[in-house]
């Protein structure tokens, strides 16, 4: 995970993106940055332009106005170089040549990945590795037409991570997957982000995404109406106390506390990390405030999203 405040060149940079089909505007003035190691979840009601935005970001669709850069390279004017860093699944389930086996399909993608300017050959071991990672080893030599939807989706993710991308873009990656499959994709996405890969994924599963995304962009009516930094939200802790207002005043004076609020019977403070909780408890105790409970103040993304979309 990228440390907050650490300067980093955006892995994905969307500037002033507009997309129109005829007179119908699908995306309006989208600005968006995703840093290396960040998991950015794109959400919004159906038909609000998520897939169009993803298609523009991957270079499949051309913007009417604006530009998109992957690792500093324009995906539309310097496409081959920009996509050298990209792994993506833009349809759910992922699409493959059904007449070929899973292994053959991955080999095709490996060969194409090696065509990047300065690209290296993807070794056969890597194919076996990603198939094993996505639990598809048994299916590797079967034609894709025999795969279930979930298996195709997992093969899609295998193909996306095949060439160790620096930018991973996934459109509804857990669509059609069973709970174990969903967990598997979560682990892979988290692991890729930990290794410094910027991840963008579109999803409707807000409570699920809230557990591992760093940022959530809410897209509605073709506009990015809000960007929620979940890291900042999740750094909040709530203290059930006998005097919430008094507790808030005490907490506010602590140097590591960034923001304080009350929600009776709780005093809520943004501490910047779990390690600060004992210090906060000690200070409250010193000031004579009785603390009955201290716990993370989980941000309800679903409720926030509902409110935000209704207001938009």
């Amino acid at each position: 995970m990228t440390k907050q405040g650490a300067p980093a060149i955006p892995a994905i940079e969307v500037r002033g993106l507009n997309k129109k089909y005829g007179n119908h505007s699908v995306l309006e003035e989208i600005f968006l940055n995703v840093r290396p190691g960040e998991v950015y979840a794109l959400t919004g009601p159906n038909g609000t332009g998520k897939t169009t935005l993803i298609r523009c970001m991957t270079g499949l669709a051309f913007p009417t106005d604006g530009e998109i850069r992957l690792m500093g390279r324009d995906v539309h004017t310097d496409g081959a170089r920009a996509r050298a860093f990209l792994g993506a699944v833009v349809e759910a389930p992922a699409k493959f040549y059904t007449q070929f086996t899973g292994n053959q399909n991955l080999q095709i993608h490996a060969n194409l990945s090696a065509m990047a300017p300065g690209g290296r050959k993807v070794p056969r071991e890597r194919l076996r590795e990603v198939l094993a990672l996505l639990e598809l080893t048994r299916m590797a030599d079967r034609k894709v037409q025999e795969y279930s939807l979930g298996q195709r989706q997992r093969l899609g993710v295998a193909s996306a991570i095949l060439a160790d991308p620096k930018v991973l873009i996934l459109d509804e990656p857990t669509s059609g997957l069973d709970p174990l499959g969903i967990g598997l994709i979560h682990r892979i996405v988290t692991s890729m982000a930990t290794d410094g890969c910027a991840v963008v994924l579109s999803t409707h599963h807000l409570r699920e995404i809230a557990t591992y995304a760093h940022t959530v962009g809410i897209l509605t009516g073709g506009r990015l109406v809000d960007t929620v930094d979940l890291r900042a939200r999740q750094a909040a802790y709530r203290f059930r106390v006998d005097d919430p207002v008094g507790a808030a005043a005490v907490l506010e004076r602590l140097p590591f506390v960034r923001k304080v609020s009350t929600r009776t019977p709780f005093a809520i403070a943004h501490l910047g990390g779990e390690a600060r909780v004992p210090d906060a408890l000690a200070r409250l105790s010193e000031e004579g405030i009785r603390v009955f409970e201290a716990s993370p103040d989980h941000f309800d993304l679903y409720e926030y999203y509902r409110e935000r979309v209704e207001k938009a």
Binding site: G59, L60, A61, G79, A80, A82, V90, L112, G119
Partner: protein, 257 residues
């Protein structure tokens, strides 16, 4: 580029329409071996196996081969769009120009493959007639089937090769046109229909003045039997091929997928 070309040929030859076209063009000429009324219909007395390729090409080049080419080439884009496999291909670090250029090359080779199977089937059907020296013509050389005297097996083979090659060249613009429509419509049926409709409309334009007829693609479908200087029609066919091909590349380069 080689990677893309191999992939395109693999997909092309693996497609159902290509397989059907290759099988039909190979098997159709075999009918000539069992067709007692063939000589009566084409008003030529078949005396050599070398004459059957001309019969097969003549029968198929106006409609059947263009139809097979239009459908199969349109499918190289249309079926990829329908199956959703075009997008994953374009997500890879490959120039769009190279992707469509490799499709164009595969499309331009396909007419020659069909002509090869047509000629191979015809020669197989011609075995009972033999391939020795005969008096007459192959239908692809001077004097057409009547010929200009005695023709050795080697000379006849040369005429068949020339005719087959020119037939492939004649069909190249059809393949390029189908690819252009494929890029514009991203749909197999629409692209194949548009290609075929364009050819039919061109044929109907015989009502126009001769100067315009001379530049119509369909006016030169018979150059595979023409003798003498065929440079001008050949250049025109290559211009058509290049023009349609470049338009397909240009259209694909800025096409939302």
């Amino acid at each position: 580029m080689i990677t893309l070309l191999l992939l395109e040929f693999r997909k092309l030859l693996g497609s159902r329409s290509a397989k059907l076209a290759l099988i039909v063009t190979f098997l159709l000429p075999l009918i000539w071996a069992f067709a007692p009324r063939l000589s009566a219909l084409i008003q030529v007395n078949m005396i050599s196996g070398w004459q059957l390729p001309a019969v097969s090409i003549g029968v198929t080049i106006q409609y059947l081969l263009p139809l097979f080419i239009a459908v199969t080439v349109a499918e190289t884009i249309g079926s990829e769009t329908a199956q959703g496999t075009l997008a994953p291909l374009l997500l890879r670090p490959v120039d769009r120009t190279k992707v469509i250029a490799s499709k164009l090359i595969a499309a331009l080779v396909f007419p020659f493959l069909l002509i090869i199977t047509t000629v191979a089937g015809s020669l197989l059907a011609g075995i009972p007639l033999g391939f020795g020296t005969f008096t007459g013509g192959t239908g692809l050389g001077p004097g057409l089937f009547v010929g200009v005297g005695e023709l050795s097996g080697g000379e006849a083979f040369g005429q068949v090769l020339r005719g087959a090659f020119l037939s492939g060249v004649v069909l190249m613009p059809v393949a390029a046109l189908s690819l252009l429509f494929g890029v514009l419509f991203l749909n197999t049926a629409a692209s194949a229909l548009a290609t075929f409709a364009t050819l039919i409309v061109m044929r109907l334009l015989v009502v126009l003045p001769e100067a315009i007829q001379r530049i119509l693609l369909t006016s030169h479908f018979g150059i595979y039997v023409q003798q003498g200087d065929i440079g001008q029609p050949l250049i025109l066919l290559l211009i058509y091929t290049l023009g349609f091909g470049l338009m397909a590349i240009y259209a694909f380069d800025r096409r939302d997928v």
